[in-house]
Subunit: 277 residues, 2 copies
Amino acid sequence: MRVTKRNGEVEEFDTSKVENSLRNSGVSEKTIETVINKILEKNYDLISTDRLYRLIYKLVKKYENKYAASIYSLKQSIMSLGPDGYAFEDFIAKILIQQGTLVETRQVYESMTIPHELDVVGSDFFIECKYHNSGGITTSIKDVLYSHARFLDLVEAGRKRKSNNFKQLWIATNTKFSDDCLKYADYWDIKMISWKHKGKDSLSYIVDKFHYYPVTLLPSVSKRTFSLLSKNNILLITEVIKVSDSLLRKIGLNNDEVRRIREDCDKIIKASEVIQK
Amino acid sequence: MRVTKRNGEVEEFDTSKVENSLRNSGVSEKTIETVINKILEKNYDLISTDRLYRLIYKLVKKYENKYAASIYSLKQSIMSLGPDGYAFEDFIAKILIQQGTLVETRQVYESMTIPHELDVVGSDFFIECKYHNSGGITTSIKDVLYSHARFLDLVEAGRKRKSNNFKQLWIATNTKFSDDCLKYADYWDIKMISWKHKGKDSLSYIVDKFHYYPVTLLPSVSKRTFSLLSKNNILLITEVIKVSDSLLRKIGLNNDEVRRIREDCDKIIKASEVIQK
């Protein structure tokens, strides 16, 4: 059975990739076997990676439970941090803060000539965030060059006016970078964070390992609920857990929504606890 | 009578601006007086600059002739160098060549890491062209930063590998630049060419003064004819004049189109000869 990738390339279906991905989502070995067998049985030759993903999601929901399926759909839940890029910026900032790095979002810094609003700012670096609401969109070299010019413009101001201390540019995306982006960034020492790039620096690894699950992972969180939560700077499941029911009601959730979000949080945490680290 | 500008600002109708503009287009003093009087008579208070322009165009066509009106619509004819940006790049290159500067269009240069396709390349500079098909679109700082990063990336390759000799970046647009663009460019020594910026360096001044009229200025040149001409690298009226009827037929113009384009060229040149330099 072969799989058709987004870029049109065809490759043999690699069961071990799916097995690992399901194992990382806390799916039991029994369900993993069932899912793989179901797929191989039907022999969906040349299936697209998108359709394959949706199929696996449904099978996990059916044979394991909807919470393991949610964790499996982590990438999708980060793509739901829309419609604009603000929630993704906040998400990236929260991850860094959880890891002990002090950052602020959407800060304006003056260069020698113009102001630059920076997405996420640390003591000696800043992060430009490129959020895309579809996995098919690759962050392109144009975005990287634009961000790099901003960085160089600010470094000049740092040197001449001591108005900042920026030493490095980071660029973070929830999808992927083109090869040109990575080559360029490697030469110019720009730190690149994308879904899969690069091993332990990848977003998927960090979010998986430390369970920085966004609220969009919770099955009961509708667009309306997400909008209410994100407006109030509640983006991670661990943040929902910390706030009181009365606060959730105060920001606009009704009793039923509060009850369901509590249940979802408990179940997701339970589902994630079985994941071997 | 007041005029509403594109950015919403309101200002008093300045007859001297229109008079100068009409004079630069070879319109007779008599027609200029008629046009101004017709407009003031009707008192179109708060008229948009776009509507005012179209009104004047019609009056010139009526009271002078369609060729003077065409020259008056020069900016519009450059906006018709679409649908993509290639013809505008070629137009800019042709202007430079006419002025004695050797340039080539769409050349690929390698930096230390990636290839950059450059719109117009001279011996020690290159030009990034930003073509817009509507006067309302301002070239923004994002485009300028992107181009500047490309320039710096190539300067690095020039320094390390002697693969180019670039000393300056130029950016050319057929509309205008935001204030931020101009401030940034001034600091980083980027040469900016736009419709009105800056005195004798402006596109309008150069095209007006040297009569670098694009073929889109000719009343008989339809989108079809323009496409045939530009595909064959005939962009300026002076270039049409130089090629034979048989060549024009060979590239796809029919007898009637050839006859009309010849008549148009003669009349435009006659109309432009009366313009005082």
